[in-house]
Symmetry: C2
Subunit: 458 residues, 2 copies
């Protein structure tokens, strides 16, 4: 009995010394991020000196070159590129759209959806059929839809607290709506921008075609509300819609994932990855989507190196290429992980904006392991308001790792979600909408979690 | 034994039915805030149609009149004003300041501190002595300080996670620095703006004089860095500073707290208060300080009324007057509470910006009561990310209630703090820097807490 007691006591003591050490290291991580943080300045360079960097563009290549040089400058153990072929879609001239109400024409803001085909040179003019869901297309059928422009207008549901869920729920209209409308003979598709905010900024984003490709664009929420209210009047002659875009799919281009690594002192072939995507949409600077993510990931490595932490396992910051319209970088990273027989413990993705941290979502943890994580790590992250540790999470870039390395734990970094879809995929996604401290706190939260995973595993 | 078991079971059942009811009501509150929220539009009116509303100004009176009318329009049980005399300080002409380096003069942005006296008409020109703390003044003594301008330049400490703590730590330079410098014969005081951000916007705010009043102003952080670096060069002739301001203290003015009330169905003389302050600084629109707070408070009442909730206790939304430079409204509210023998259960203050909710801080709860609050209410607030329930909190306006009604629980609403001091007391505190959803979630969080207090007490 005595021995057992002594043993328990010694385990408790060890646990408490270890917790104290963890607490000290995490404080060091935060101090480094908040006092000497470099993510904000790096992001400024990426946004203002390079700017938009859609896959396959000259700017995407500039971003690759600069990122590699930046990583080299920090003196990490290993910096390298992974070759990956990516699609090269170009928007072409600024899109034009009008609501035509008899003799009256009202210009409305649209943007072509990513990967969309062009309209004919003279544009498309057609009557409009408004729907709230993909299912409605089936109900209406080809007799109603044929020759028309389908207008998907189901709004964001504001009742979701986490805005990503509203995006997920409304998103099928953009991802799958145009392909579905084409099946019923629609000549074009116009999708309400995926946002709750009512303004004049249309939100782009990829659409996925089936066999038939019809021109597809997003309309601003103000434009959508106007169009919808005019359609409701059911005037004769019927309201028509005109739009013109000359976007184009060019041949695939050789591009790169850009990777920095701190070598593991005990398990160099075991990896913990943190990453975001380097490519962006072409309408602005890709500041929150996902300049913040890549610059935070790099900062995680910089912080760990600067405070003199020597990880047991190898830690990688990965700037994935082509998240926005192809996911080719994420697929390549997973493919090479499998091919090179890398053991991947965990991967964190930061692609929900550089906003104030809330916590992390975990995929692949058993209920018991998640309970442990909460019990042991929540108290360490609570003083930093980054202690929301929940089941479910990951990201597009790391998702392919799940198949490639089935034992991996995928982790989504969860910043506060309220402002993201005000900016997402619009001309407003600029550096000025990133807050320095929020960005820095995110880097620190991820560096802290990686430290804990590296020290204790799951 | 059986009876006891049955009893326990029935208590458990009651608890669980009550928790389920609470959960449903809170969901209703959030739905109403997020789907039909009016706080954002009301705030827009206050910011754009009234604008700055410093105590004693014509705009402050406009804000009182409009607020009263707005409250009347909602049909609450009781809407009334409380008379209160408030100071009337005016800034006068735009301030001018220059660093004088021999023949060179460099303009820098300053603003007079609230309640500061004017400089002589021709301004003040004097040598500058930079200090990091009030204690340093004593060390330097009158022989060094006399005839000089004291420049308080201790920066915000970025290591605090909650920025309010950095404000608290650096704040003595503004509150007490000028009065202290005057004791040693300083002819003026220049205070580094209370913010971490490095930019050209000076932050005003009240300073408190002793017997000797010297002109006092805040300098932008960029200006402060420039001045400090020039002083470090120790050139001869010494760098001088020039500033000119003609602010003025006019006679006190009659003003008002504006109050709306839902009458308690069981305890009409027991009160739960939620409030912010209607007055603002004069440099912008007082959007986050504290337009968001008053509009959220009103929205709390609107939500509870709209969902058909009939509170047991009376619930008040209070628009306090004169928080920024006198606290006269808060003092009056407490004075009348005592005089009218009102029983006050709790008061929540929302005066830290309309940012995304984190939770609440409680003052006056025993450790056991706080534990109960956490145990029972945290699970209900967790789905809404508003479940940080901590010891300590309140606000300037409700603080006098602590003496007037010693049994009261004071509660500070805790929004995320990262962005507040970028804007606080500057020309940037405008409507455009408020996010609609963040504002609405705050109203819903406070309405939910008030519902729980009203139902269950502490």
């Amino acid at each position: 009995m005595k021995l057992k007691l002594l043993l328990s006591f010694s385990i408790l003591l060890t646990a408490s010394i270890s917790q104290a050490q963890d607490s000290l290291t995490i404080r060091k991580i935060y101090d480094e991020a908040l006092v000497n943080g470099q993510a904000y300045d790096n992001l400024h360079y990426l946004c203002k000196n390079i700017g938009q960097r859609i896959s396959g563009s000259a700017n995407a290549q500039k971003a690759v070159d600069w990122s590699k040089k930046l990583m080299d400058s920090y003196g990490f153990d290993h910096v390298f590129l992974q070759e990956v072929m990516v699609p090269h879609w170009v928007r072409g001239d600024k899109e034009v759209a009008k609501i035509i109400d008899g003799d009256k024409e009202i210009a409305v803001p649209i943007v072509a959806l990513g990967m969309s085909v062009a309209t004919p040179k003279e544009g498309i003019t057609a009557e409009v059929i408004e729907v709230q869901s993909l299912a409605e297309l089936k109900t209406l059928g080809e007799s109603v839809i044929k020759g028309k422009i389908v207008f998907f207008n189901r709004p964001f549901d504001p009742r979701f607290i986490e805005t990503g869920r509203a995006y997920g729920t409304a998103g099928d209209q953009r991802f799958a709506g145009p392909a579905e409308a084409a099946k019923y003979g629609a000549v074009g598709a116009i999708v309400r921008s995926l946002t709750e905010i009512i303004d004049d900024y249309p939100h782009t984003g990829t659409t996925r075609y089936g066999d038939i490709k019809i021109p597809a664009a997003a309309i601003s929420t103000k434009g959508a509300n106007l169009l919808s209210s005019m359609l409701k009047l059911k005037k004769l002659p019927a309201v028509k819609f005109y739009f013109k875009q000359n976007c184009e799919q060019l041949p695939d281009v050789l591009s790169y994932n850009v990777i920095a690594e701190l070598k593991g002192t005990e398990n160099p072939n075991k990896f913990i990855t943190v990453g975001g995507h380097l490519d962006s949409w072409d309408l602005a600077e890709g500041a929150n989507d996902d300049g913040t993510g890549v610059m935070q990931s790099l900062e995680v490595l910089r912080i760990l190196k600067t405070i003199g932490y020597h990880p047991k396992n190898s830690i990688r910051a990965v700037f994935f290429m082509n998240e926005e319209n192809g996911d080719k970088g994420g697929e390549k990273y997973a493919e090479l992980a499998a091919k090179n027989k890398e053991e991947h413990i965990a991967a964190i993705e930061t692609d929900e904006g550089g906003f104030t941290p809330r916590g992390f979502g975990f995929t692949g943890l058993s209920a018991a392991a998640l309970k442990n994580v909460k019990q042991n790590w929540k108290p360490l992250l609570e003083p930093y308001d980054a202690d929301k540790l929940i089941a479910g999470g990951g990201g597009t870039d790391i998702e392919p790792l799940r198949t490639a390395v089935p034992s991996i734990i995928l982790i989504g970094y969860l910043p506060d979600s309220q402002r993201y879809f005000d900016l997402h995929h619009t001309a407003k996604d600029v550096f000025e909408n990133v807050n320095k401290r929020e960005l820095e706190l995110g880097s620190a939260a991820m560096a802290s979690l990686i430290y804990l995973i590296d020290q204790h595993g799951f």
